[in-house]
Amino acid sequence: MDYIYLAIALPLLGVLVNGFFGRRMPRKAVGTIASLVILGSFVVSLVAFLGYLAAEGGTHTVTLLPWLSLPPLEISYGFLVDGLSLVMALTVSFVSFLIHVYSMGYMADDDGYPRYFTYLNLFVAMMLTLVLADNLVLMFVGWEGVGLCSYLLIGFWYKKAAPPVAGIKAFIVNRIGDFAFLIGMFLIFWLYGTFSFTELRQSVETVALAGHFPLTLIALFLFGGAIGKSAQFPLYVWLPDAMEGPTPVSALIHAATMVTAGVYMVSRMSFLYSMTEVAMLVVACVGAFTAIFAASIALVQNDIKRVLAYSTISQLGYMFLAAGVGAYWIAIFHLFTHAFFKALLFLASGSVIHGMRGEMDMRKMGGLAKYMPHTYWHFLIGAMSISGIPLLAGFFSKDQILFAAFTARPDIWPNAGMVLWIVGVVTALFTAFYMFRQIYLVFLTKPRFDVAEIHPHEAPASMIAPNWVLAIGSVVAGFIGLPALFAGIIHIPNMFQPFVASAVAGGVHVAEAAHGAQELFKEVLTTSISVVVALLGLGLAFYLYQVRYGTTEKLKKAFAAPYRVLLNKYYVDEFYDNTFVQPGRVLCEQLSRVVDLGVIDGVVNSIAFVIGAVGQVLRPIQTGFIRNYAWYISAGAILLVILLWLGLAAK
C-alpha cells in the first residue's frame, strides 16, 4: 500500500488544524477532529495490513522524497512496510485512538483543550514516523519527536511546579540515551555506509562480521538509546515522574507510544543483535534486572499511578529479556498485549482519580467497586491480564517470554537462561502481588475516605466505552499468538509469530524448538510454574489486604529498613541528584564565575590594564612642546652616534 505515509500525514493535519484554529473552534470539534485523524491512521494501517496479507509477505518500501543527498550519505522520507512495522502501526494507532476518545471526556473541562489535542496528535504522528521509517535517521526524527511530545505533555499543566520539571527530566534523560544512539548511528554509517534498514540488513548478513567487536559496540550504543526511551535501568527515572502529566497521556506514553520505541528498535535491528552474543546477553540481563528491580519498588508504592509506572518499567524489562534471548517476535507480542492491558489500567486509574476528585493515594481509597462497577471490571481484567492469569492476553505473552528464557543457552554463559528465567518468575510473583494489592486497596477493602464528602462516581460513557474495548483486547489479544502447547490443543495456529518473524531475525527457532517431546514437557513445566506463581501472588495480596487487613502494618515495622528502601525507590533519584545534578550545578557556577569571569576575562582585562598603565606612564613625554621633542630627537641622535661608534670600534 503506497499511501502508508498518510498514517503520519493525517495526525499532522490534525496538528495543523487544531494548532492554528483550535482555540476558535468548539471543543467538541477539536476533540472529534483529533480522534478522527487517528482513526484515519488506523484505517490506513489496516488497509496496508490487508494489502500486505493479500500480497503474501509483500515487504516493500515507499520513498516519498529525499531529505538530503550528500553522496554517499542519502537520506529520504522512506517508509518500510513489513510485518513488524504493520503490527506496530496498528497497535499504536488503535490504542491511541481509544485514548483520544477517552481524553475527550477526561479533559473536557481543561483550559488547554486544543493545545492538549494538538500535542496528542503530534505524539502519534511522531510515533508512527518512528515505526514506519525505513532508515535510522528518519526513525531518529520520530525518536526525538516522541521525546519532545512527552516533554510537552508531561509538563502540560505548566502552571503547577512539578509537571514542567518532570517534563524536562524526561527530555534530558532521554537525550542521554539519544547521545548513545547517535554514536551508534555514526558507527553504523562509517562501517556500512548506509542508514537504510534494508541495505543495512543485507550488508550485515552478507559481510560476515559475527561477534566482531565494532558490531557489538554498535549494538550496545543503540541499546543505550533504548535504555533511555524504554525506561530501563539506569535511565528509567524519568518514567515514574512522567505521571505528572494528565492520566491519558500516561496511558499513551506507557502503552502505545514512546516507551515501546526501544523494544521496537532492538527488534528492527535484530539482524544486527543476532550477530553479537555479548550485546544480546547485555540486553537480556538489563531487561531482567530492570524487571525485578522495578517490580520490587511497585510492591510498596501508595500512589495508584506510581505502581502502574513501575509496573510498566518492569514489563518493558520482560520485553528486553525476550529480545535478549533472541525471541524478538515474543518481545513484540508482549509489547502488543501490554499495550492493551496497560492502557486499560492507566485509563481505569484515570477514571478512579476522576471519580475521586483527583485523589491518587490508595491509602485514602477502598471499596470503590460499589461506586464504579465498570471501572472495577476494567481494572480487574487489566490486573488479571498483566499478572498472567491463564487464558488472558498477558498470560500467553509472558509465558512465552519465560519459556524462551528457560530454553536459552548462550554460548558465552550457558546457564544464563536459567538465571534469567528465575528472575522472570520472581518478577511474575511480584507482579501478581502488587496488582492485586492495588485491586484490594482501591476497590474492595472498606472505604478509607469520607464517602459523603467525596461522592465517588463512575466515569462518563465516553470514558467507559473505550475502556471496554481495551478490556476485550486484554482478554483476547493473546489468542493470535498462542504458544505451541496451546496451539496444538485447541487448534488455533500462531498467527502472530510468522507475521512478525519474517521481519526479525532468529525469531523462528524458539518456537520450533518446542516441537520435541522433551521441549513440550519443559513448556508444560514452565507454564505450570507461571500459573502457580501468579496465583500465589494473588493469594498473598488477598491474604494480606483482605483477609488479614492490617497485617501489613506489622510487616512494615518488622522489616522497617528494607521497606523504607523500597518505598524510597532504592534512593536512586537522590543518588543521581547528589552525584550528578548538584555537583553539576556547582561546576557550572564555578566555571562561569571563577574560570570565565575570573581567569579568562581576568587575563584579558589585565592585559588591557597593563597596556593602559604603560600608556599613563609614557603620557608625560608627549607634552606637545616642540622644544621638548627637539631635545628627544637630539638625545636620540647622539645615542645613535655613540652606538654606531661603539659598533665600529668593536670591529
Binding site: L65, P66, W67, L68, S69, L70, L73, V137, F140, V141, E144, G145, L148, Y151, G155, Y158, K159, K160, A161, P164, V165, I168, F171, I172, R175, I176, D178, F179, L182, I183, F186, L187, F189, W190, G584, R585, L587, C588, E589, L591, S592, R593, D596, I600, D601, V604, A608
Partner: protein, 533 residues
C-alpha cells in the same frame, strides 16, 4: 518575468547588493532627523529592496560550485589590489542571510530605538553594506577593508544605543577584534610579499589559491589568520568579548552580531584558511577540533549558570559555533563535516537571531533581562510562548528543525575524523537541552506571580511579521534541507578535496623564485577547464 531574471542575471548583482544599503545610508544623511518615521520606513524599504535583489542570485548561472557573479575591476594596480568579488556555494547562503536579516533588524528596532534614530538607521545600513561585502570579497585587501568596516557601525551601535556597561562592552569588542585583525593584516601583507617573490605581487584570492606557500610559511600565516577568525567565531578561550557585547548591544545589534558577524569567522576559516593554508589547516586540525569540543562543552556549562536571559543566549553561541569549528576542521575522506558547518552557520544565524529578537520583545516590555523576573509567561503571552518554544527547540537541535541538520552532519563528519572528539562533542546535544529547557521553564512555566508580568501584551503584528518568516525557515531547513545543501555541497567539496590533495603531498608547492607557479592550478584545472570564472 523571464526577461527580468535575464536582465538581473546580467547586471552587476553583487555590487548592487553591497552598495544599495550604502547609498541608502548616504541618502538618510540628507533627511530631516525630526522625521524619524520617514527615516525608519526608508531604511526598511532599502533593506527589503536589497533582499529582493539578492534573491536574483539564485536565478543566476547554474550551480555554485565555482564562483559566479564575478566582478573584477583594477583598483590599485601598483600593488596588485583589485575590486574582485564573487559568490559560490559557501558564501551564497551567508550573503542571503545578511540581506534577509537586515530588514528584520530594522523592523525590530522601530519601537525599541527612541534616540538619535537617524544615525541609528544609517549605521544599520552601513552594517549591511560591510557584512555583505565581507562574504563576497575575493581580494584580500578588499576583504580586510570590509572586515574592518563592520567594526565601526557595531562599535557605535553598542556604545550609543546599548544598555548597562555599553562603553566597556563596545571597547572590549573593538580591541579584541583589532588585535586579531592586526595579525591578519600582517599575514595578508606576508602573502603579498610571498607572491611577489615569483611574480607580480598580488592580493588576489583566486591567484593565491593556485600558488600555495610552502608549509613552513603556511604555518605562520595560518596562525595569524587563525587568531583573527578564532576571536570572531569565537572559539574558546577567545570568547569573553562576546557575552558583554551581545548582552549590552541593542536588539538589532545582537541579532546582527550573533547571526552574521560570528559567521565572518567561520566563513574566513573555510574560505581562506583551508584554501590558502591547506597543510597548516590539516596540521592544526586536531588542536582546533579540541578547542571546538571545549567550546561546545564549556560553553554549554557556562550557559547553565547564567541568570541574564540575553547573556545566556549570547554564550550559547560559543557552544553552537564550536560545532561549526568542529565541522570545518573534520578532515577525513569526506566533506560532510564542512557541509554541515556551512549549513549550521546559516541555521545558527536564523535561530539565534530569532532568540535575540524574542529577548528584545520581552525587554522592550519589561526593561529587564533577569530570568528570575519572569515566570509563568506562557499563560499571558501564548503566541510569544509558541514562537519561543519552536525557536528554543531549533536551538536544542531537535530533528525536523534546522539546528539538527547541521549538527548531525558535523558530528557525523567529526566522528569520522576523530571518534573520540566527535563522541565528546555529541554529548553537547544533551547539555544544550539542559540549559535551554531550564531557562524556558523559568521564563514561561509556573504561576505568573509578578503583577508587572500579568498584563504583558502578546506579540503584535509587526513582531509577528519579523518572527514568522524566521520560524518558517527553521521548519523549511529542518524538513527539507536538500535545496540548501545541494548548493553548498559542490563548492565545499571542491575546497576540501583540494585541501586533502595538497596535504597528502600529491601536489608540489610553488616555491619562491620558481617560475612554475602552478601547484594548485593542477588540481583546479581538472574540474575547471580554462581556469576559474
Amino acid at each position: 518575468m523571464d526577461a527580468i531574471i535575464q536582465m538581473m542575471a546580467n547586471a552587476p548583482l553583487l555590487s548592487i547588493i553591497i552598495f544599495l544599503p550604502l547609498v541608502g545610508a548616504i541618502l538618510i544623511t540628507l533627511m530631516n532627523p525630526a522625521k524619524s518615521h520617514r527615516i525608519k520606513w526608508f531604511a526598511f524599504w532599502v533593506s527589503i529592496a536589497t533582499f529582493l535583489i539578492s534573491l536574483f542570485l539564485l536565478a543566476g548561472s547554474g550551480g555554485f560550485e565555482k564562483f559566479s557573479h564575478i566582478e573584477q575591476y583594477t583598483w590599485l594596480p601598483q600593488i596588485g589590489v583589485s575590486y574582485h568579488i564573487g559568490v559560490d556555494g559557501i558564501s551564497l547562503w551567508l550573503v542571503l542571510l545578511s540581506t534577509f536579516l537586515l530588514p528584520i533588524s530594522i523592523l525590530s528596532s522601530f519601537s525599541a530605538i527612541r534616540k538619535r534614530e537617524k544615525e541609528y538607521y544609517i549605521l544599520l545600513l552601513l552594517m549591511g553594506f560591510a557584512l555583505t561585502g565581507t562574504f563576497v570579497a575575493l581580494d584580500l585587501v578588499l576583504f580586510f577593508l570590509f572586515w574592518e568596516s563592520v567594526l565601526i557601525p557595531m562599535y557605535l551601535l553598542i556604545g550609543i544605543w546599548g544598555s548597562g556597561r555599553r562603553i566597556y562592552a563596545a571597547t572590549k569588542f573593538v580591541l579584541y577584534t583589532v588585535v586579531g585583525s592586526f595579525f591578519m593584516l600582517l599575514a595578508i601583507i606576508g602573502l603579498y610579499v610571498y607572491s611577489g617573490s615569483f611574480g607580480p605581487g598580488t592580493f588576489d584570492f583566486i591567484y593565491l589559491r593556485s600558488h600555495i606557500a610552502p608549509p613552513e610559511l603556511q604555518t605562520w600565516l595560518f596562525l595569524a589568520f587563525f587568531l583573527a577568525f578564532a576571536i570572531k567565531v569565537p572559539l574558546f578561550p577567545f570568547h569573553t568579548w562576546l557575552a558583554d557585547a551581545h548582552t549590552e548591544a541593542p536588539t538589532a545589534g545582537s541579532v546582527l552580531l550573533a547571526a552574521v558577524l560570528l559567521k565572518m569567522g567561520g566563513y574566513g576559516f573555510i574560505r581562506f584558511c583551508l584554501t590558502l593554508f591547506p597543510d597548516a589547516s590539516v596540521w592544526a586540525a586536531p588542536w582546533i577540533m579540541g578547542l571546538a569540543v571545549i567550546s561546545i562543552i564549556y560553553g554549554a556549562l557556562v550557559c547553565a549558570a547564567q541568570t541574564d536571559l540575553k547573556r545566556l543566549i549570547a554564550l550559547s553561541s560559543v557552544a553552537h559555533m564550536g560545532f561549526v569549528m568542529l565541522g570545518i576542521f573534520s578532515f577525513a575522506n569526506t566533506s560532510i563535516g564542512q557541509v554541515g558547518a556551512t549549513i549550521q552557520m546559516v541555521s545558527h544565524g536564523i535561530t539565534t537571531g530569532a532568540l535575540f529578537l524574542l529577548v528584545g520583545v520581552i525587554y522592550e516590555r519589561r526593561h529587564t533581562r533577569e530570568i528570575a523576573q519572569f515566570g509563568g509567561l506562557a499563560s499571558v503571552m501564548p503566541q510569544y510562548y509558541n514562537v519561543f518554544l519552536i525557536t528554543m527547540l531549533a536551538s536544542v537541535g531537535l530533528p525536523a528543525l534546522n539546528g539538527f541538520v547541521g549538527e548531525f552532519l558535523i558530528l557525523l563528519g567529526a566522528f569520522r575524523a576523530d571518534w573520540a572528539l566527535g563522541g565528546l562533542a555529541t554529548f553537547g546535544v544533551v547539555l544544550a537541552a539542559v540549559y535551554l529547557l531550564t531557562m524556558f521553564r523559568r521564563v514561561f512555566h509556573g504561576e505568573c506571580t509578578k503583577p508587572e508580568n500579568q498584563k504583558l501584551l502578546d506579540l503584535n503584528v509587526r513582531e509577528l511579521v519579523y518572527l514568522v518568516p524566521l520560524v518558517l525557515l527553521m521548519l523549511w531547513i529542518g524538513l527539507y534541507p536538500k535545496p540548501y545543501l545541494s548548493v553548498i555541497k559542490p563548492a565545499v567539496d571542491r575546497s576540501v578535496r583540494a585541501v586533502m590533495r595538497i596535504a597528502s603531498g600529491s601536489v608540489e608547492y610553488a616555491r619562491s623564485g620558481e617560475k612554475a607557479a602552478t601547484a594548485l592550478a593542477q588540481v583546479l584545472s581538472e574540474d575547471t577547464p580554462g581556469g576559474d570564472g
